[in-house]
Symmetry: D2
Subunit: 430 residues, 4 copies
């Protein structure tokens, strides 16, 4: 996931109304806490694999961000606790030594209650700071706070990704959120939408917040291509499995086939076979029967790529995806309801499901755009250094906070990652 | 740790007063729960290494024992929960499939509160069963319940071993129990007590409960030997370290030296160096300055053996230890107060600190006595199958429930284990 | 390294003179054997790490290729030995079960002499086949044999990469080939050559052999860029090390920094520090003093990338490299002498050292070109399936057989690989 | 395997005839080289697993022993090669840094021919030294040379253990030595021979060479016991397998069952199932059909223990074995022919197959005898430091040099080791 802002990303915040900005801080910070409704301290302490962090850690880390990058250097604050800087730094080499990531689940104390007290204390100080900072202090920190809010939204998604993995470990199948009743949907036929290609402009242009990895805007040359107008469904993915998808090496990238064998993959991460051969799936609504019309989710890039090969298609490049999304006037990421699980497509005569269901694995390695520059200082430490062995995903997922993503947004994960909400949209030559 | 009873171990229980037995059940079961005073759910969920189990798991597993071996087969009970049999079986192959040991810390649910409800339900049923069982049912189950209580006492010790390790992981240095003020003690000079050896009888004889691995009683032939009258202290162990103890391969068993290097050992498990070269130690009383008069604890067999070699002595065999303990009329394990950390020796003219401070690593591999037979059924599955690659410890520790151990008791752990409360008593040829 | 031919790659062979073709077969096959001059069976048996194959294995595998894909299916041949098909298949899932790659060094028999007999037998049969095949059989096999020769050339390079690693393991520092005396050279100043970018055609065009991953030829859009006119030298790399290059995380990709720490990298693979702080390097000429004017070699992509960041530059993309190489009329890869170690640059007013010294790590992930299609059948199994987690290198190395590479050639290795002959050429924005 | 001499072990040598001693040196050294008949350099270079050493290494290491402990300190010799001390030290911490054991198979040079030259040079110097040493020098070195010869005999056995493992890796099934035709034998019925036990003397007494771990002689007290008069056969072991031996956890020690599962054991190390369900076995005579009358060999202690439990018996302790062997007047280890594979038992009315077929796993952990002292200096470094996590084997094997073993000899290996020639003799209570 991207972390550092484009260099002009703070302009919006600086020029805005501070009272409105305080409201926004309160809304974003409260939204994070509301994700813990129904969770107990036991849930929020566990690290179920090295990639997962305990909910408790996310609550503290997002707070540490504001304390470390805003309040201490610019607000004259003292650290809330002498050990929290060590415990809740994630990956910033420039911000000092830090607790090893795979051991986040070994930390009994601070308790969840202690962490909530930490949040409250930092929130109070941050709101006071925004309300009273001099114009100079404000000019230096507005973009950092803006960044901190986008960073917090990313952790809102991570909290949901991670708690899904945690809750999936116990055979008791807990329900995180009750599902709303939904009418069964037929899967609409898939159509390909064609694009001419040629010289296309890619990347963030000017207005609004963006991460540094979306910049600079630049030209690429695309060959003509076509994109499937909806996501690949669970029913279609069942066909792939039934056709020996996980037993045929010729369908897989070499590293993908090695993962299939060494990790004994037989289907997407949370799919479970019943004794009578049926398929169930663990979701944040609990375990339930597989709905063939829903988009497939929690597959790796390797699985997405193998599926595409089996289907006689391929994955789109990130440039194809962005060009299409921009040019068809994709529905806004902000204009959708919250959810914890993706929904089936409705019939449509245009590209749909670009946002708000599942991130879409692309064929593109995560690499810098021509002329890419990282932000200076610790907050610039993220996006550049992960530009190796990772794959770009585009769009957004049901668990992405509405309004967080955009057509130029570049999400990224290693190709074997399955706990992120990655799914599949197909492309092909014209 | 031993688990299965000697074959006649239930006689005591069968012939006793059922009302008194019910009182004892209540006392033992309540003592387990009282160990959780001051712990929060976060503490009780964590598995800080594969050997450690979460407190929550111990609370449930000891309950599962009575449910699985007594209430379901003999009391007509239905399982309290369909998944608990899988989750809370520890190692009994004969009792069905079980949750992998290294993943006990991944189980968010059942919550601590759910487990307490499980305990309460099984306690009620067990007490009702004991009060109303027919003579026949009682004859079949009394020894199993007796075993279950000794098993529960073992887990009381494990809960303390394990929570010490869990709490040691966070830099916040929590205090599990406040320490009582103690007057500083001078370390008394160490003397060796000599024994003639010859033909000696070893093992459990007749009366009272014992585990199967203490039987059968049999003769061994001992050469003359001498035993140090007190335990090795932290101050003496500091001398060993200062003399290059952890840097001199000639002092170590080959596997011990490999452990020193691969695990980067520089001192006992919970010792910590301060920046100015001082020594502190994490205990269940929190982190504090090292007391040179206290017995050294949380060392492995390898460290005990290396220390002995450095000191020009050796570790006693388990037969020497038992012979000495029986013949000097060792103070009873039951006649001591509870504690969570060992105390310094007082001057004495006889063998002291045999019980109640630290388990004493012996030179003996954990092997069956001549004519050893395991109990039949799942409860007999433990002691025999661990008779490989383990070393015997004798005595008992501060955290052992008073009255649990005895002179013939054979505790055992792998030679690299440091989280058990193992310490050092020296022996030598005469 | 690439393996499968572009779909029209056999045309050249089919239309050529068979007698000349037989000469070429003899030359290529003899060149492979000549690489073993001075090696003893002990050298040729060892697999010094999983990526390395024994020389003996390379000799047999390149032979197996002709036997399996040409002589058995098209020439009616019987396998030379019933077990060789299993032992000497490298990675072709479609060609049946195969011996595990990391265990190639466990195979005592067949002996080197047995493998040479296998080579001789297959050579005789292949030459007879080419001389006598019907027009139809020839049309089916010419491109396969052509491919087999390019494949064999790749293994000639692998034999040298691998034996360098094998011989570096013993403290006896064997000399594989005596070095010719060379006059010391001054390092010429580095200049950047600028290019305008814009719409550029990339990939193999029409005539001559190429691998499938060089196709199809297609347009890309390049921003203006500049390329350093020579390779980075050992002397410059020493400055990077002296400036803390291997101790400063901010210079490294995240995965690169993890490799530095976990594998304890302090310099390029074969560099050795002497006790007085001098630098020596193991080469196929034996161990010798580091020559500051020579190009640095045996660095990983991570090291190349960190060096470039330290130098305030970046690595070129593979498209920038190819565009530059094509447009400056790069000296032909075939027009250079054989060598086993790269040579220092001579002063020049143009891009030099593009070929024949060290492969040049690019900033490009190894991915398919738009419209890429794999060849059908087992021989098409290679290039496509490795398009994940690998990085493209361009140019060629001293150990690449002259004439093997070309401006469109795409070599590839994982970013951590150091035993391949990877070096550094810098690029920057204009 | 034991390595250090009992403290008086050199007396024999000192007092003997030097010319006869020189003859013995020549015989033992030549016997080692004769084991390489029929091996090629490829065979002698490979390390097929970390426990195995290349033949080449054994040839050099046994030579290094005489050079390092005799010729350099006592004969004024210069090292033959500056790197051999590092390369061919096995485990002697006191003899300086050494090449890592698991990397012995990565050493291409010195070649086999170089090592043979090293042997010849050291042999010449050693023989000259023995012929001309002053009485004082002789008194200091005779026991070291004597030890070196016993050490060399141990490596003769290791060469055969190791080359069997190496040759078993290739599907070509090489024949190391052609088998002599043998008449098929019926397996004689097994009988138990009873012993009274009581106070028994154990350990080496006075005359002749012994290793330090056989001392001091001391009393033990044995309960009455009985020993099977012959070894367990392959046919009997087939019955164990057919009865689900490798699928029933209740038959196994816990660590043994873990080994069965993690290493996927289905039978002894070199047993192979044919496609039609038959059993074949790889031997130093090549692969051949299993002979049910032969003793089972290449089983671990875990398998021996599980077999014994299945058979309603147990393994003998090392004291029971020695007491029986001494008291029945066991046939001398020296009075048997050389062989590379064990032979079936012939009918007998006494304990047979004690020596010369397979080492017999005991129930005894490898621990020091009461009063055990290691030899001083580097040569005393072996036996003591391995007294942890190892199990004693008694007797000797077909591949043990005749005359090497004796009734008090204590061989030892970790309980999971299968490449040593361990087999099974049963014991039981009377």
């Amino acid at each position: 996931m991207p972390r550092s802002p484009a260099t002009d990303a703070g302009k919006l915040a600086v020029s805005g109304d501070r009272a409105a900005f305080i409201d926004r801080i309160k809304r974003v910070r409260a939204a994070t806490v509301s994700l813990t409704d129904g969770l107990i301290p036991e849930d929020m302490t566990i690290q179920s694999m090295p990639d997962v962090s305990p909910t408790k850690w996310h609550l503290a880390h997002t707070t540490w961000f504001f304390e470390t990058f805003v309040l201490i250097p610019h607000g004259g604050a003292r650290p809330f606790h002498p050990h929290y800087g060590y415990l809740f730094n994630s990956y910033y080499e420039a911000a000092g030594a830090r607790h090893p990531r795979p051991e986040r689940g070994l930390i009994a104390r601070p308790s969840v209650a202690d962490v909530v007290a930490y949040r409250d204390s930092v929130d109070d100080a941050l709101i006071a700071f925004v309300g009273t900072a001099s114009g100079d202090a404000w000019a230096k920190t507005a973009s950092l706070i803006e960044l901190g809010l986008h960073h917090e939204e990313q952790h809102q998604e991570l909290i949901l990704m991670d708690i899904k993995h945690v809750l999936s470990q116990t055979p008791l199948n807990p329900v995180y959120r009750a599902a709303q009743p939904r009418a069964a949907r037929e899967t609409p036929a898939a159509n390909y939408v064609a694009f001419d290609g040629g010289k296309c402009e890619i990347g963030h242009a000017g207005a609004g917040f963006a991460f540094d990895n979306e910049c600079p805007r630049h030209a690429v040359w695309l060959q003509p291509f076509a994109l499937m107008d909806r996501l690949v469904t669970c029913g279609e993915y069942l066909d792939f499995i039934a056709d020996g998808g996980y037993r045929r090496p010729e369908l897989w990238l070499s590293d993908g086939w090695a993962a299939v064998q060494s990790q004994n993959w037989h289907g997407p991460l949370y799919w479970r076979e019943t004794e009578d051969g049926g398929s169930r799936v663990f979701t944040l609504h609990g375990e339930r029967a597989l709905d063939p019309a829903e988009p497939v989710v929690n597959v790796s890039h390797y699985e997405a790529d193998a599926y595409a090969r089996w289907a006689g298609a391929r994955l789109p490049t990130e440039f194809e995806w962005e060009h299409a999304a921009v040019n068809v006037g994709a529905a806004d990421d902000a204009a959708r309801p919250c959810a914890v699980h993706p929904a089936a497509a409705q019939g449509s005569d245009r590209l749909c499901q670009l946002f708000g269901e599942v991130w879409q694995w692309t064929a593109s390695a995560y690499l810098p755009y021509p002329g890419f520059k990282t932000s200076s200082g610790a907050v610039g430490e993220y996006n550049g250094k992960f530009m190796s062995n990772q794959v770009v995903l585009r769009g957004s997922a049901a668990i992405t906070p509405p309004g967080h993503a955009r057509a130029t947004y570049r999400n990224f994960f290693p190709p074997h990652a399955r706990w992120c909400f990655g799914g599949i949209r197909l492309a092909r030559e014209v």
